[in-house]
C-alpha cells in the first residue's frame, strides 16, 4: 500500500467576475509515494504544489480525479488521525500561546491530561521553542511560527506528514534542525511529503522527487536515477601539468574548461563524448600525474531548471484539454 497516491487529480478554478475564464491549477496529477520515504514535491512558485497539498487535505475539492492517503480516500476523517500537515506560511490563533495551541490540537486527537501536556512539551523542545512557549502567538516571529507549525503537524505522531515549504522563514540553524528532524521522522518510519523550491534541501533529504510546472507533473522518480542518467562529462584533477600540455589539450577541443587549483595542479572538464583515458594517456606522457577522476553529474538545480524551462506556460483550459 502506498502512503499517498493520486490518479489524474485535477483542479480548475474560474478567474474573472464578469467573464470567468478557466484556469488549470493542477492538471491530471498521477503520483505515488511509498511508505517510509522522504518525497520532495518541487516546482517554482505557482506550479501547483500548494494546490496539491490542499487537495490532499481536502481544503479544496478536485474537479476530477482521486487521491488516497494510506489506502483511504482523502475525505475520510479517520485518515486525518494518522497524518500531519504544515500549511505554507502557517497562521494560528494568535490569542493562544504555543503550548495552548498544541494542547488544543492535541485535544482534537483525543489526547488529554498529563499525556497531552507531556507530548506538547516534548514536541516544543524538539522544534526548539523554549520559554517562549508561554507567549501568545501574536508575539512570535515568522521563523518561530514555522517551528510551532511543524510541532502541531507532529502532535499525533503521524504516519504521513505533509510539509508545505517547511524551511520558509527559518535561519540557517533552524533549517539544519528541521532537516535533522525530517531525517529523524524518516528513521522512525514516518513518510514525509514536502513541497519546496529550495533544491538543496530536497537534494539532501529526499529519496524521490516529483517536479511540477504549470500545474503539470514534468518529472518524477528516484533522485539518484533522475540525476545519474544526466552525467554531463568528466572532471580530471591532474598535477604537474605544463602550460604547453594544457594548451595542446585545449586546442584539441577535448577540454571544455580548465581551472587552476594552484601550482601546476588543474581541474579539467571534459565533455561526455571524450574518453578520459585517451586524454589522460597524452597528459601523463608529458609528465602530468592523475590526482582524481570524477563524473560531472547534473545537480538537482540543473535538472530542475531544464525541466521547468521545457514545461508549457499556458494554463488556460483550452490549451491543456486532451
Amino acid at each position: 500500500m502506498d502512503a499517498i497516491s493520486t490518479e489524474s487529480l485535477t483542479k480548475h478554478y474560474h478567474i474573472g467576475f464578469w467573464r470567468p475564464r478557466p484556469y488549470v491549477a493542477l492538471d491530471a496529477l498521477s503520483l505515488s509515494v511509498r511508505q517510509g520515504e522522504v518525497f520532495g514535491f518541487l516546482g517554482p512558485n505557482g506550479a501547483g504544489k500548494t494546490t496539491t497539498l490542499k487537495l490532499l487535505m481536502q481544503l479544496i475539492y478536485p474537479t476530477s480525479g482521486r487521491a488516497e492517503i494510506l489506502g483511504r480516500p482523502v475525505g475520510d476523517v479517520a485518515v486525518r488521525r494518522r497524518i500531519g500537515y504544515l500549511p505554507e506560511n502557517p497562521y494560528f490563533y494568535d490569542y493562544l500561546t504555543a503550548e495552548e495551541l498544541l494542547e488544543y490540537f492535541g485535544g482534537l486527537f483525543g489526547y488529554s491530561g498529563a499525556d497531552r501536556h507531556k507530548r506538547v512539551g516534548t514536541l516544543l523542545d524538539e522544534v526548539g521553542i523554549g520559554a517562549e512557549r508561554r507567549l501568545q502567538l501574536r508575539k512570535f516571529s515568522k521563523g518561530m511560527l514555522q517551528r510551532v507549525g511543524i510541532a502541531q503537524a507532529l502532535i499525533n505522531d503521524p504516519e504521513v506528514v505533509f510539509f508545505d515549504e517547511p524551511m520558509s522563514g527559518l535561519d540557517p540553524l533552524g533549517r539544519r534542525e528541521i532537516r535533522q528532524l525530517i531525517l529523524k521522522l524518516r528513521d522512525r518510519g514516518c513518510t514525509v511529503f514536502f513541497s519546496s523550491h529550495v533544491l538543496s534541501d530536497a537534494e539532501a533529504l529526499c529519496s524521490r522527487v516529483a517536479v511540477l510546472a504549470g500545474g503539470r507533473l514534468v518529472a518524477a522518480g528516484d533522485l539518484s536515477e533522475l540525476l545519474a542518467f544526466q552525467v554531463r562529462g568528466w572532471e580530471l584533477v591532474v598535477n604537474g601539468l605544463t602550460d604547453a600540455a594544457l594548451d595542446q589539450a585545449k586546442a584539441s577541443g577535448r577540454v571544455t574548461q580548465a581551472t587552476a587549483l594552484g601550482g601546476q595542479r588543474f581541474a579539467l572538464e571534459l565533455p561526455l563524448s571524450v574518453v578520459p583515458a585517451d586524454l589522460l594517456a597524452g597528459l601523463t606522457a608529458q609528465g602530468a600525474q592523475l590526482v582524481s577522476i570524477n563524473p560531472v553529474r547534473e545537480t538537482l538545480e540543473d535538472f530542475f531548471v531544464r525541466q521547468i524551462g521545457a514545461a508549457p506556460k499556458d494554463r488556460g483550459l483550452g490549451e491543456v484539454a486532451r
Binding site: 478554478y13 490542499k54 487535505m57 481536502q58 481544503l59 479544496i60 475539492y61 476523517v77 479517520a78 486525518r80 488521525r81 497524518i83 500531519g84 500537515y85 500549511p87 506560511n89 502557517p90 497562521y91 494560528f92 490563533y93 490569542y95 493562544l96 488544543y104 490540537f105 485535544g107 482534537l108 486527537f109 483525543g110 501568545q136 507549525g149 502541531q152 505533509f162
Partner: protein
C-alpha cells in the same frame, strides 16, 4: 460531541482574550449610572424605568456581541488561514460550524447571566430605597422573577441572530454579513406588518409575496415580551416555550444551511 465542545471552549477563550466580556463592565456602569440619575429626577416610576432600560440593555449588548462576533466567526478563520491547520485534523466541517456556534452561544450565555445578575442586584438595591407604602403601589416587586421569561426569550433571540450571522459568514464578507443580519433582524421585528400586507394592497402577487416572506423570515417580534413583564401582565408559559422552540428550530435550520454551504467550500 467531544470535538464540538473542544472547539466551543476555544471560541469562548478567544472571546475572553479579545476582551468581549468587558462589555459587562459597560452594562453594569450604565445601569448603575441611570438608576442613580433617575433617583434624582423622578419618584415612584424609577423601578419601572430601570426594568425597561435593563431588559433593553441586555438585548442590545447581546445583539452587538451576536452580530459583530458572529459575522467574524468563520470569516476570520478562512481569511487568516488558521482553518488550514484545523481542518487537517480529525474534525468534520459540520463539527467546526456547530462548535463555533456553540462557543459564541456559551459567550452569550455567560454575558446574559452576568447581566441578569447585575440587573437584579441594581433592582434589589433600588428596592431598599423606597418605603413599603410606595413599594406596595408597584404592579410587581422590584426583583420580580416574572421578568426571567423575557430574559430567556432575549437569549433565544440572540441565539437566532448568532445563527443568522454565522450562516452569512460562511459565504460572505463581514460587512455584507453584518448588513444582512441586521437587515433581517429589523425586518423580523416588523414581521406582523407583512402578515397584514394583503389588507392594504390590491395586487394579489404582492400579497402572496408578503405572506411568503412572513412565513420565511424569522419573527423577531415574537421574542419581545419586555413590555408585558415590566407591567406585570401575564405571559402564558406555553407561549414562552413555543416561542423558544420556534427560535431553536430556526437556529437548527440555519446551522444546517451553514454546514451545507461550508462543506462545499474551497479554501483557496
Amino acid at each position: 460531541m467531544r470535538i464540538i465542545c473542544h472547539v466551543a471552549v476555544n471560541v469562548f477563550k478567544e472571546s475572553v482574550r479579545d476582551k468581549v466580556l468587558y462589555n459587562l463592565v459597560a452594562f453594569a456602569s450604565l445601569l448603575i449610572a441611570v438608576s442613580y440619575l433617575l433617583g434624582q429626577l423622578t419618584a415612584g416610576q424609577d423601578v419601572k424605568i430601570v426594568k425597561d432600560l435593563g431588559l433593553a440593555a441586555i438585548a442590545t449588548f447581546g445583539l452587538l456581541i451576536a452580530v459583530f462576533i458572529g459575522i467574524g466567526l468563520v470569516w476570520k478563520e478562512v481569511e487568516r488561514r488558521s482553518i488550514y491547520g484545523l481542518l487537517s485534523k480529525p474534525i468534520r466541517r459540520s463539527e467546526f460550524i456547530v462548535g463555533k456556534y456553540a462557543g459564541l452561544a456559551l459567550t452569550l450565555l455567560v454575558n446574559v447571566v452576568v447581566m441578569t445578575v447585575v440587573f437584579y442586584a441594581v433592582l434589589a438595591y433600588l428596592n431598599t430605597q423606597f418605603p413599603a407604602a410606595v413599594r406596595s403601589a408597584w404592579p410587581a416587586p422590584a426583583t420580580d422573577p416574572g421578568m426571567l421569561p423575557a430574559i430567556v426569550l432575549i437569549f433565544v433571540e440572540l441565539l437566532l441572530v448568532t445563527a443568522i450571522a454565522l450562516f452569512f459568514s460562511t459565504f460572505s464578507s463581514p460587512f455584507l454579513s453584518a448588513a444582512l443580519t441586521v437587515g433581517l433582524w429589523v425586518i423580523g421585528h416588523f414581521n406582523a406588518d407583512l402578515r397584514n400586507f394583503e389588507a392594504v394592497v390590491e395586487s394579489r402577487p404582492a400579497a402572496y409575496l408578503a405572506r411568503g416572506l412572513y412565513y420565511l423570515l424569522p419573527n423577531f417580534a415574537a421574542f419581545d415580551i419586555k413590555t408585558q413583564v415590566v407591567h406585570a401582565l401575564p405571559v402564558p408559559a406555553a407561549y414562552v416555550v413555543t416561542t423558544a422552540l420556534y427560535g431553536l428550530l430556526y437556529v437548527a435550520l440555519l446551522l444546517t444551511g451553514a454546514v451545507v454551504i461550508f462543506s462545499r467550500r474551497d479554501f483557496k
